[in-house]
Amino acid sequence: MKTKKDTIINNSKNEYQEFLFGPAHPGSGNFSVKIKLGGEKVVLAKSDPGYLHRGFEKLMEYRNIWQNAALSDRICVFEPLAWNLLFAEAIEKLAEIDIPEKAKYVRVILIELSRIQSHLIWFGAFSSASGFDTGFKIALGYRDYILDIFSIITGGRVYPTGFICPGGLRRDLPAKIEDKILKVLDKVNEAIFYFEKEDPVFKSRTENIGVLKIDDAIRLGATGQVLRASGFLQDIRKDDPYEIYKKIDFNIPVLKQGDAYSRFKLGILEVKESIKIIKQLLDKIPNGDFLNKNIKIGMPFILPKNEAYVRNETARGEGAIYIKGDGTINPYRVKIKGPSFLHLIPVLEFLLKEAEIADIPIIYWSLNGCPADMDR
């Protein structure tokens, strides 16, 4: 029987070809990688970001916090709520605003739902990249149940338009939403049931592909599930808890292999933990205010001469915002660090070296990258 190694065309004549993976490739998103091939092996890969560079950091210097809260949605298309929360936390830390207990609970529930739907898009895209088209349809179909919940709570299916705002939340929770969320969680469990099934084809396409060793992961700046799939336990929700994560009982799944398959498996385990977190919180949401009483939404808010740095565990890894105020209503400087900035540039370039041409989409999607949060 021919092994996989025998079927690869080797580059005996030392001839090289160059081509682009993306930006118009359906498997890449708005992002491209310049690839140099020798035979069927990648000799050199260079990420070429910038197709979604909208200059948010500069735009935010011209806008007040309410405009920026709505703008912060667009940093990452796959999980706008996570960036909503990060921006709100940055302003709260900068101006020392307290938020009511109820807002903290609702924020965590929304963020975990957002993590689940973000992982579902990822499962879908990953399945599609590995030739398993049914997976794409299952994932995006079930994701829509969560979007319905977002639509009821925030008013927007994908973009909440600054629902999580500095000082708390824009609106109160609608009545009896807890039951609806529980029903949606049952639906998510159904989706997980499909993705948990061992598919021999999917497994053979992803196992031992794109192996990232723990030392390389740390060195190249990997965070989130890319780092945890390589065997390093790190989660900002546990290490540097924000909101009410300190009070919640949940585990951080870690896998050792560091290949594309284990990154995918870890995603499934993370969704299960998120379901656990939401179920714990649903019947404990306290009554009371959802917004700090001193905050008036839409009114100009003067930012103090101060600076703050906040980090959160987004679905893709470590997201962070540095903000500096100068005593005016607009921030003086905002720096946004998206997790994909490191995953899609240094980590991807490293993993693609020596990879086979057919494995490029698998490696790319196993990193759960988002070109939007990389380019900003």
């Binding site: 970001p49 560079h53 500069k58 962070a320 660090k337």
Partner: protein, 162 residues
């Protein structure tokens, strides 16, 4: 953690600006950056989290903030340093923290800071950009776009000049 901070203070003359929950802000001389980073990496700060640059026009400086994370000490260290705006140059720490290479490349493109010793400072987001560093405070993008892309004589584009 306290012992480490006092060591940095006595060894490199760092100034502690503020202490928050799990975060310490300090200010250092830009000449000590490499030594401090080497010292911190040996003492548990093995994660490079982020690099921020702030253009401060009134003092004629560019401020750089290096955010380092220690998994062992569960602490973020924000190290601030200043470089002059006229000659924005600083030693690269990419040999100590590999992850900082890409951050430095971004800051080089958007703020025009030259990181000495960085292996690759080629263009990242911008393509064929010939203008000044776009994230500097004195770069007026509205003015730049008007001059570069619009025509005052054109009836349809007159509105941009009001």
């Amino acid at each position: 953690m306290e012992g480490l901070i006092s060591k940095i203070k006595s060894k490199f003359g760092a100034e502690i600006l503020k202490k928050e929950k799990n975060q310490i802000w300090m200010k250092i001389n830009n000449k000590d950056l490499i030594n401090i980073c080497n010292f911190l990496k040996e003492n548990g700060f093995d994660f490079f989290s982020c690099l921020s640059a702030i253009d401060i026009l009134e003092n004629n400086i560019i401020e750089l903030v290096y955010h380092l994370w220690s998994q062992e000490k569960k602490t973020i260290l924000n190290i601030k340093t200043e470089i002059s705006r006229e000659k924005p140059e600083i030693n690269s720490i990419s040999k100590i923290y590999t992850a900082s290479q890409i951050h430095e490349r971004e800051i080089h493109e958007l703020f025009g800071v030259n990181f000495l010793g960085n292996s690759d400072l080629s263009e990242l987001f911008l393509e064929d950009w010939s203008g000044p560093a776009p994230f500097l405070k004195d770069f007026d993008w509205r003015e730049y776009v008007r001059e570069k892309f619009y025509n005052k004589e054109n009836e349809n584009e007159k509105g941009y000049y009001n």
